[in-house]
Symmetry: C2
Amino acid sequence: MDKAYGDFVALVKELYALDQVASCIGWDEETFMPPGAVMDRAIQKSTLQGVIHEKLTSKKISDLIRSLEKSTKLNPDARVVVREVARRHRRATSIPKELVKEIAKTESLATEAWLKARKAKSFPQFEPMLKKMMGLKAKVAEHVGYEDRPYDALLDEYEPYMKTVEVESLFSRFRDKLVPLVSKILNCSTQLNEKAACGDFPIKMQDEFIRAVVKDMGYDFDHGRMDISAHPFTIGTGRDVRITVRYDEKNLRPATFAAIHEAGHGLYEQGFLEKYYHTPLAESISLGIHESQSRLWENIVARGMPFWKYYYPKLKAVFPAMESVPLAEFHKSINAVQRSYIRVEADEVTYNLHIMLRFEVENAIFEGKLKVHEIPSFWNERFTNYLGLKVPDDAMGCLQDIHWAIGAIGYFPTYSLGTIYATQLYNTVKKAIPDLEDQFAAGNFKGLLGWLRNNIHSQGKRYRATELIKKVTGEGLNEDYFLKYLKQKYGKIYGLSL
Amino acid sequence: MDKAYGDFVALVKELYALDQVASCIGWDEETFMPPGAVMDRAIQKSTLQGVIHEKLTSKKISDLIRSLEKSTKLNPDARVVVREVARRHRRATSIPKELVKEIAKTESLATEAWLKARKAKSFPQFEPMLKKMMGLKAKVAEHVGYEDRPYDALLDEYEPYMKTVEVESLFSRFRDKLVPLVSKILNCSTQLNEKAACGDFPIKMQDEFIRAVVKDMGYDFDHGRMDISAHPFTIGTGRDVRITVRYDEKNLRPATFAAIHEAGHGLYEQGFLEKYYHTPLAESISLGIHESQSRLWENIVARGMPFWKYYYPKLKAVFPAMESVPLAEFHKSINAVQRSYIRVEADEVTYNLHIMLRFEVENAIFEGKLKVHEIPSFWNERFTNYLGLKVPDDAMGCLQDIHWAIGAIGYFPTYSLGTIYATQLYNTVKKAIPDLEDQFAAGNFKGLLGWLRNNIHSQGKRYRATELIKKVTGEGLNEDYFLKYLKQKYGKIYGLSL
């Protein structure tokens, strides 16, 4: 390996180490930071981000990238490292520092406005700041550049290499198939006992139970921890991958499925190869692929019957509240499909309609087909079409998510991409390991984890998301696996022929 | 205020914000970091320190300092900020980067060697690395520069502006008065029931009790927290000041006095003025002054009778184990004076002899009067002279502390300086608030805290340590207040006329 590459890798290592520091103080902020320290933490974060930006856009790294991109001596690993760091470098370099600062300032102001507007259930209170944020993001798109659609430049931050037209055509097919399916389920006469998983569940006992579950999944507590935060999340920093959950003493589900979801993210991060640490080869491909891991574990594995064949007796032993609830009823209760306004509370069937609606809003805005002030009427109309519910107010509608206030435009599609990736991967692993679900029923997840480690985790950013999916499953992005999964699972649960 | 000062303060703010980030990840390392993350954290810390060093030694800050030092337009606050940042800048600039790196590397190797040597109770196993470290520290002293003694340059890192000769003459007087006093107490026939504070003390209940105590002292949990770590410590980062303790289920003392000690440090950090945040005016003067705060609260206040007049009934109500122990006996038990080998377990009477011995070793080494291989015999001989105990092996002797392995030469004297500062301050505050101890007996610490806030905490680094002591107490560093305090307190406890 030549000297330039050595110098380059040393700089990259510093960058990743500082990213890890940023993750650690971000984790601290959400878990243990005293309430009075908010302002200090904001200054610390922006100073650190300034340092990272300086390093990422330095002339030194720029010169090295240019020379390494011309080099013919790099091995395949090195080419990935150069390619991906160059992408990050160019994106950072293309956005003027002043614009970055203005976005950061607008994030704070817009979040404040959003909180007030949501409380007042009044979109107009949020509108001026959202308009400003959308304008700034449009500027970002112009600076970053795009071949086809401005939204491409935003989407690329969360789902690298993915194009708007791909999402557009995928979601359009997907929506047309999903809406009638959802309607059939929601309009059928079968009533599930949604309250079956409710009762008294002391937090300490929930904690013990779910720790055992995620440990069985393969989550490594010597290189991780599980704590409490208002919104569950995962941070991965090399040998230190932490997850969080939140508890509801009257309901098992929030903590259990949050823990399994986050452990799915955590297993991905814990599955990077040590030899690649501090490089893009030990980094997730995209939010979509990240989400495919969490949703595969949470929905396909842990809302499945084989999983609970193993865990339900253990759960009953811990929680007397469950004694009178048969396994079948419990299984149905954790898979109840419902009309609901709030995305984060939606079941896996309706969830994607919530996502597609948000993408449609963002896409229409950046195509100039929708003005910010028209969002509520656009939202409410489509929401009724997709879910058959009339939105009572903006707080239950287009004001429910923080994403737009913090400028996370292009983020939403990754949730549904993850869902689709997940079922495609699961379809493949089931073929590779025919007794996979028997293994789950015996509390054995080694087969699944091993397959994910080999095929997904260990690859880091070597391939693009769709490239990896094609390489592993033999075909491109295809929503039909998810739809087939829904039909089989929910046909059975609801006694319907879907 | 001129533009140069504005630019300077902006740079200084970045430096302090990055220092705070370093503190936060250091805290995390000692409290919640998964065990497997040690190597990653080491890389993160050294990368961050590299960034801080770069910023601190930049041409930009150097030019600003030079121009501001000549300015006649600065107000007194600004002059302190420039003076203290300039000191830090010059120290950092004077030490070559290569030397800093070699010290960091040697720290790891020396710590490893020290751990092994201590386990094997064999100083010769540590000797080569210690010799190397001492050599590197001698180089540091040459680079930093000194007027009189090389040790000055090392001491200055922990106790700024203090000179070796001052410590030398202070400690020499102090030791000559303390040794006979200790001998009288240790050789008297009075036997204290040292076990009075032992029993069954569930951690949860200890935690509740000491949280209430430090809250009463004035420690603010909205801007702080208390967690568990192997060695108790405090970090202060603006509005976020955290303390740690460790528990012994069979003994109340470790956690109780650690919490009060650390809360003493924490109150100092919480007492800086917000308007000075991110400058040396919101930073401790020296380790000695820091330690004066912790020792004042831990020893003078919380090992005193008035304090326990208020808390002992509360303690008894929580812990049935204490029911049969009268207050007087409990008070004596937490003040038992003993011959002991280990510094961190020593009582407040003998503690300073442990410190002075360490200073004598360091001072002799840097004066060229002692070779590293002669440390054990030097140590053991003086230890017997001061404490009347024969050192059984090096682990109980000169291998007990980590300080030398991590290159913290010049640190030890600050513990005794803190003790002396503390009694001088306490003598003054008692004159200012005649009913001070009656206030303690009523659980009221507002008078003491208010006085410390006004006179010490709010000053930051405005004055040098000895300057501040003189300003506040009316006289210079004087060991006699501590000796008088010991004679009064321990004369009573041991029924001796001292």
